[in-house]
């Protein structure tokens, strides 16, 4: 559906986007993730034809955005970061205008009614956009993108500035739309991307530093699949007992966490699943297991790791390494991050 090859964008001497390549299949929901100023919006603006590209090629459903912009634009619904609303218009009037502007072929009244129902703005259709709250304005912006029922939806930070209730609503809407649309969504909020996207493209300094399915990304980057067990027991006895479990490479005590409970970090041998063995061993000893968590990196940690790496080169190198290599090269090149990750693990488990 969307093919991007060798895309670069230069503002004067500043290279905002550099050699970006990706391809998105019909029906995918893809998340663009990156810190502010990473180039997410620029890429989206190029896809929608708002900005030109300096180099490369972008096609939407086979139509080149540079050579055949009208055909390409016809297939895209775009919700920019700031919804492009004329504040002095009424909701319905505005949607009528967008309908006329896009030269949509569907019957006008029913089409707009349907969209307004979908995004739940039908009860404000005769109000001035100026008088609407942020959440409603966002939804009008959404409605605008949906007019003409385009195959591709490009949503630039669709939930920014909304309250939690509205965020959930918009997220549900995106999930519903995802059934018959190709969606690109950008955000710097990870939970959002995690909640709705199948595939994630991480962008930093105008370059793609990771592009994979969400679960692969977490798997690929976890340096070791260690397991943390919290057990009510005697520390030294349990340490020895756990070390004796088949497939366990090493066990480290992380110290006392709750009343009488200790945390143990268990590092399994490569490829071994030791969870059953550990749970059985604890049961044999008649001790109580409170929790058993895999310390696989969360998306948040991956994100920080990638975007804070000294430079993108290092980050990309990290990604290309297969898991065996990763084990041999502890992320010593980024010491500040190594410290950060266990800290966050701790926080999680304290909750």
């Amino acid at each position: 559906m969307i093919e991007v090859t060798g895309l670069s964008k230069r503002y004067g001497s500043f290279l905002a986007v550099e050699n970006v390549n990706f391809s998105i299949q019909k029906g995918e929901i893809v998340g663009f993730l990156g810190p502010n100023g990473a180039g997410k919006s620029t890429i989206m603006n190029i896809l929608t034809g708002y900005l030109s590209l300096t180099q490369g090629k972008v096609t939407i459903d086979g139509f080149d955005v540079a050579e055949n912009p009208e055909q390409a634009k016809r297939r895209i619904g775009y919700l920019p970061e700031l919804p492009p609303l004329y504040l002095d218009m009424k909701v319905r009037e505005y949607l009528n205008f967008v309908y006329d502007l896009k030269k949509v072929k569907f019957p006008k009244g029913p089409h707009i009614d349907e969209i307004m129902r979908l995004v739940r703005i039908d009860h404000v259709q005769n109000r001035l956009i100026k008088n609407l709250s942020k959440g409603y304005r966002q939804r009008v912006g959404f409605a605008q993108a949906l007019i003409g029922n385009p195959d591709v939806l490009i949503l630039d930070e669709p939930t920014v500035g909304l309250d939690p209730q509205q965020i959930i609503e918009i997220r549900n809407l995106i999930s519903r739309l995802g059934k018959n649309h190709t969606i690109i969504l950008s955000s710097h909020i990870l939970s959002e991307i995690q909640a709705v996207c199948d595939r994630i493209i991480i962008i930093n300094y105008g370059e793609i530093i990771a592009d994979d399915l969400q679960e692969n990304l977490s798997k690929q980057l976890s340096t070791d699949h260690s397991i943390v067990a919290r057990v009510i027991c005697d520390e030294r006895d349990m340490l020895a007992a756990l070390k004796a479990v088949k497939g366990v490479q090493n066990v480290v005590s992380l110290g006392k966490k709750e009343m009488g409970a200790y945390d143990f970090e268990i590092i399994p041998e490569e490829g071994a699943d030791v969870r059953a063995g550990i749970s059985n061993r604890i049961a044999e000893r008649k001790k109580t297991l409170l929790s058993l968590t895999s310390s696989r990196l969360t998306l948040e940690q991956i994100f920080l790791k990638l975007t804070q790496a000294p430079n993108n080169e290092a980050a990309r190198k990290m990604l290309r390494l297969d898991e065996a290599d990763v084990k041999e090269t502890p992320i010593s090149s980024t010491p500040d991050i190594v410290i950060e990750i266990p800290q966050e693990n701790d926080e999680k488990e304290d909750n």
Binding site: T48, Y50, P69, K73, F97, D100, L101, K102
Partner: protein
């Protein structure tokens, strides 16, 4: 194009701006008509030219054009326009005609004036006097609108658009006076002097070419000269084209 035209034209009347502009026009037209009529000069063409004589068009037209593109850019609503499957030139034309339609509305009362004058049996003034003046003032205004729209496409806020359009319009307004200040002696010696005087000659020609008022006044000469129509039409076309280029260039920078 029609969608943009409709929205833009309507937007003049969703705030007081459109009404204020029309009120100013109607006030001066009414004033001039009353004055001329009661003094026994019932030429509606003269009434129309009164607006250009007092130079008010140079100040009102920037108010009409200031928001056209600068405001869209400021509020980022241009994103909906420029990502729609519409050619850029059609958006530009839609906006141009919306501004022009408002401007043209300002001259509706002159139709009534003409009817009043024509109904008087003792006055015999050919209708084409009025029509030539009307065509002249509409072309003149359209040219200023095209220039103002171009400035609006270059700026990012209506305030800077109006200021720069006013400066441009002042240059156009006083171009012939500026030109007459420049004196070029006939005798020249050295090479440098020749170059300097050559430059001055080009400048004078340029300033004279900008003399909108001079061209407009020929529409009051009871003839319709093709060259005057072509003069304004080419300015209009040139600035519509430049506006489109300016917007296109913005995509590239």
């Amino acid at each position: 194009m029609r969608a943009v035209f409709k929205r833009e034209f309507k937007s003049y009347f969703t705030n007081p701006l459109g009404f204020v502009i029309l009120a100013v026009f109607y006030f001066f037209l009414g004033l001039a008509f009353k004055d001329y009529y009661s003094n026994g000069i019932p030429y509606v063409g003269q009434v129309i030219f009164f607006l250009s004589d007092i130079g008010i068009l140079f100040f009102i037209i920037p108010v009409i054009t200031m928001r056209l593109f600068s405001d869209e850019r400021r509020t980022k609503t241009d994103q909906v326009l420029f990502t729609a499957p519409v050619k850029l030139i059609k958006i530009v034309l839609g906006k141009f005609f919306a501004a022009f339609a408002l401007y043209a509305m300002a001259f509706i009362p002159t139709i009534i004036f003409q009817i009043i004058v024509s109904s008087q049996e003792n006055i015999d003034i050919p209708l084409f006097y009025y029509l030539y003046a009307l065509i002249g003032i509409l072309l003149f205004g359209a040219a200023l609108i095209a220039v103002g729209m171009f400035v609006s496409a270059l700026t990012e806020s209506p305030i800077s658009a109006i200021i720069f359009t006013l400066i441009t319009n002042l240059v156009i307004m006083f171009s012939s006076s500026f030109a007459s200040f420049i004196t070029i002696p006939n005798t020249t010696s050295g090479v440098l002097e020749k170059i300097y005087y050559g430059f001055l000659q080009v400048l004078v020609k340029l300033l004279n070419a900008l003399n909108f008022n001079g061209v407009l006044s020929s529409f009051g000469q009871q003839t319709l000269a093709l060259q005057d129509v072509v003069y304004f039409v080419s300015i209009i076309v040139a600035f519509i084209f430049l506006t489109e280029r300016a917007l296109e260039k913005r995509r590239w920078s």
